[in-house]
């Protein structure tokens, strides 16, 4: 980590060095259009205006810093990012929990029943190549029109999106024991329940966490899309769609950074749980 700190900073600086002139250029263009039209601006040249447009194309760094306290440092306000991120995070986590219960159950049936596996597994595999998120907005509206409102529809939708990667990950994990190990269990005269508890389940745990990480991002996207497609009282998705409609780039950037932070926090949460649950994996990587 330490030896990659300086290279990472360098890459970040290079990225900013590309983004900064782009920001100035795009904003100056917008500003000169406004000046031509004779709009009242507190600045004279397009270049000067680039840093304090009311509705910039890309917010200038000073504007991002200026907006930060309002967007973040007042967490109890319904328009702050942490307040909404909490709702989205809650929907995501509950959705993931629901998805993992159903996904685990299905994966167990998949490994037990061969006809069931042959009929269902290809659909699960196909689900990985299909944009299942496309159903989310419709599901949100249909659930809403049937009186399912508040947090529940978001939980259901993120569970639905997270379900497929979890089911397929666990099914893969439950099938991962070495045939030799399964033979060994048989020589111990272990029942199929014992084989499951003592061999199949422990070997599937690393697969489970890899699946959880993928599913977490998917669930978060599901929750955000669900929030943005219905009328809701809170959530990052609501903020995104509102500010997107109002074309408010300054708020959009704050929400985008907040969503990115939420995604990183949630996925690293899975990483932390993984380290606690599977200490034997730590030495491998």
């Amino acid at each position: 980590m330490n030896r990659s700190l300086i290279p990472m900073l360098t890459v970040a600086v290079i990225a900013l060095a590309i983004a900064f002139p782009l920001m100035v250029f795009l904003n100056a263009q917008a500003a000169s259009r406004l000046l031509e039209r004779g709009a009242e601006l507190p600045c004279k040249s397009p270049l000067e205006c680039a840093f304090n447009l009311r509705s910039p194309v890309i917010p200038a760094p000073n504007q991002l810093l200026e907006d930060f306290p309002r967007a973040y440092l007042n967490p109890s306000s319904p328009t702050s990012v942490p307040y909404n991120a909490f709702y989205t995070g809650l929907a995501t986590l509950l959705g993931l929990a629901l998805a993992s219960i159903i996904g685990l159950g299905l994966a167990v049936i998949l490994t037990v029943s061969r006809p069931f596996e042959r009929a269902v597994l290809p659909w699960l595999v196909a689900s990985q190549t299909v944009p299942i998120i496309a159903i989310a907005p419709m599901l949100a509206v249909v659930l809403g029109s049937n009186g399912v409102q508040g947090l529940l529809p978001k939980v259901l939708i993120s569970a639905y999106i997270a379900f497929f990667p979890i089911a397929i990950g666990v099914a893969k994990g439950l099938k991962s024991p070495d045939p030799l190990q399964i033979d060994l269990m048989r020589t111990y005269n272990a029942s199929s329940v014992q084989t499951f508890a003592n061999l199949r389940f422990p070997t599937s745990v690393p697969f489970l966490f890899t699946a959880f990480k993928v599913a977490m991002t998917a669930a978060l996207i599901g929750a955000i899309v669900a929030e943005s497609s219905t009328i809701t009282d809170a959530g990052l998705g609501r903020m995104l769609s509102e500010n997107s409609r109002a074309s408010d780039a300054r708020n959009l950037w704050q929400v985008m950074l907040g969503s990115a932070a939420l995604g990183i926090v949630l996925v690293s949460l899975v990483g932390v749980v993984e380290r606690l649950v599977t200490p034997w994996q730590r030495n491998r990587s």
Binding site: P7, T10, R118, V120, V141, I221, S228, S229, L240
Partner: protein, 330 residues
């Protein structure tokens, strides 16, 4: 064996549904029921006959017979392997059709599959245009982001500094929800297809970078030594050893990235598009509660995903079919 028991199961369920519905229909002879329940009864009957016919005539057994395992046969074998899944899909579709019609569920809640199919045919010109826009966004974004990813991977292979600086970001980026990026990009680039292509390019970049870099790095030291003993210069080693070794990894990256790209194109269209695109169509038609069109767009999006994935898988087989991973599978 598995298929046969499944077919038997389907026959059983088909006749059971038939029985229940006949009873229910006689019990409550209302208007809402009549058409739908009859439809389900006929479907159940037909399905039962087909299932029993397939099992008893030995068609299933013949299809599942042991075959000579050679390369040319893989397509046929994988198709035969899909039979149970396709049967299940058929049963589910017919079940939904019968239930939706039977209970007279309003079109604004769940449209029956037949209505969706009809809409697919009716609105095909509009949907085709939407598909071409989404495909354009995905393809352009994929080509830009993917080739940048491969080039950067080659550079990280050459310069360790770049690898240390770039790779940690890929883990960070994989946990960022792309939805949040879409409105920002639309604000910067406008509502036309270009903004969505950029979103796709950003999502595609990191999976391609990571997979290619892994493929380039994971060459066995013995092979590198062999190249050295041939007095091969670094360029030669790169072209004849590292690139071919990375090919399967690049294809894996392509498959993952293409699906991710399609997803992000559709999601980005939710937030703004200039009159076309599958995601745009879905959001607009939800607004007017014409859910049959929404489902038609979803069906097309799914077919698009499956097609893109399988075309890449076919290319993979053609260009890196020599790789041990294929031999192990056959």
């Amino acid at each position: 064996m598995a298929t046969q028991s499944l077919v038997g199961l389907i026959a059983l369920f088909g006749s059971l549904a038939l029985l229940i519905l006949t009873i229910v229909q006689n019990a409550s002879n209302t208007d809402a029921w009549s058409g739908g329940a009859m439809a389900l009864i006929y479907f159940g009957l037909a399905l039962g006959i087909v299932a029993v016919g397939l099992t008893s005539s030995g068609v299933v057994k013949w299809l599942e017979r042991p075959r000579k395992k050679d390369q040319s046969d893989w397509l046929m074998r994988s198709l035969v392997g899909l039979i149970p899944a396709l049967l299940l899909g058929l049963v589910v579709l017919l079940g939904v059709e019968g239930l939706v019609r039977g209970f007279a569920v309003p079109l604004a809640q769940i449209p029956p599959p037949s209505a969706v199919l009809q809409k697919l045919l009716e609105a095909r010109s509009v949907l085709l245009r939407d598909t071409s826009i989404t495909l354009l966004e995905t393809a352009v974004g994929f080509l830009i982001g993917g080739s940048l990813g491969v080039v950067m991977a080659i550079l990280t292979q050459r310069y360790i500094f770049l690898e240390r600086g770039l790779m940690p970001y890929s883990t960070l980026f994989s946990s960022v929800p792309i939805v949040a990026l879409a409105p920002v990009m639309i604000k910067i680039m406008g509502v036309d297809w270009q903004s969505k292509a950029v979103v796709v390019a950003i999502t595609v970049f990191f999976p391609m970078l990571v997979n290619t870099a892994r493929g380039l790095a994971e060459v066995s030291p013995l092979q590198v030594d062999l190249m050295r003993s041939y007095a091969a210069n670094p360029q030669r080693t790169f072209l004849d050893l590292r690139i071919p070794n990375a090919l399967p990894y690049i294809f894996t990256g392509c498959k993952t990235a293409a699906v991710l790209g399609l997803i992000s194109a559709i999601v980005a269209e939710f937030f703004g598009a200039n009159g076309g695109g599958l995601g745009f169509r879905i959001v607009v038609e939800i607004g007017t509660v014409s859910l049959d069109t929404v489902w038609a767009a979803i069906v097309i999006a799914s077919l698009l995903g499956i097609t893109v994935y399988n075309v890449l898988a076919l290319l993979e087989r053609k260009f890196s079919g020599w790789h041990p991973s294929f031999r192990a599978e056959d």
